[in-house]
Amino acid sequence: MINFLQNNIFYISAFGLILIGLFIMLSKRNLIKVIIGLSILETGVNLFIVTLGFLSKGTAPIFSKSGLDMQKMVDPVPQALVLTAIVIGLAVLALALSLAIRLYNHFGTLNLQKIKEQKW
């Protein structure tokens, strides 16, 4: 059991974050809390993608000096994907918060159940 935990600690923490974010999004009614859940979920997804490219005792994929072993370098593709995803996640978070500002201004509440005129 301890061995399993040690070997898979990054997978467990990444999916822990994803499940916590999903649970917040499913159970909370406050819009700000839903957005926080979205942010936590996004962090978990990013962590998971980086973890997939991890190599035990690996180095960063940068040839900053000669004599680095190519076989020991971690996979650069997931890192490149996550690099852009983080900045876009920030922009999407800002967009979601601006929508929350408008909703609060219009309805006077952030509780999703009290907001009438919902179409769903």
């Binding site: 070997n7 898979n8 990054f10 997978y11 999916f15 499940l19 999903l22 649970f23 499913l26 159970s27 973890t51 997939l52 490219g53 991890f54 190599l55 035990s56 960063a60 994929p61 940068i62 040839f63 900053s64 190519m70 076989q71 370098m73 996979d75 650069p76 593709v77 997931p78 890192q79 490149a80 690099l83 852009t84 983080i86 900045v87 876009i88 920030l90 922009a91 999407v92 800002a94 967009l95 918060l97 601006s98 929508l99 500002i101 408008r102 201004n105």
Partner: protein
Amino acid sequence: MRKFIGIILLFIIGWGIVVSLKEIPFGEQKSKVGKYYIEKGKEETGASNIVTSVVVNYRSFDTLGEVTVLFLAAIGLGAVLATFQRKEKIKVEPSSLILYTGCRFLFPLILLFGSYIFIHGHLTPGGGFQGGAVIASAFVLVYLGCRGKRINETGSKIAESLGGLTFVILGLVGLAVGGQYFLLNFLPKGEFNTLFSAGIIPIIYIAIGFKVGAELSGIIDQLMEES
């Protein structure tokens, strides 16, 4: 009830994840694409940071799309908040002298650090996106510390548009010169591991840095205006 259903759903999802992840070992070489980039990237692009060569050379068309998504999010935020009107203006007290001077002292240093990060994106960890985020953090400092100061909106729009234009025009020039594909690395590669190397990669990363920095500080400006 809602929480109960949520927990049951989470258990189903978690079980699916455990079943599928059992097949993927942790900490081993998995993909052939990453191996190819590490082995050939040095000769093909001339950048010593392989992550940068993936972002700006092999997958630069995707990066153009991602920059566009960022632009769309910034525009959408402006559109959502544009018709918003405050009822009463809150008067802001000016910040104290120490805070004001400290922020004005730190602001150019943070800008310098951000531009260092995106100019050296092909040599060291970092790049346009990270450097842009650092530059936006400098503007956050000014907004919080020196109350009343605003960024120059025209300047930020010009920086943003020039960044996007440089990216697209370099791609089209590559298409015209090489005739093979969009965003071809047509400039000479230069000496490996020096500042002037890797062809168009540093130029594109500088353009991305300006664009991301201008967009994120625009977002901060919009949100600060409303609060």
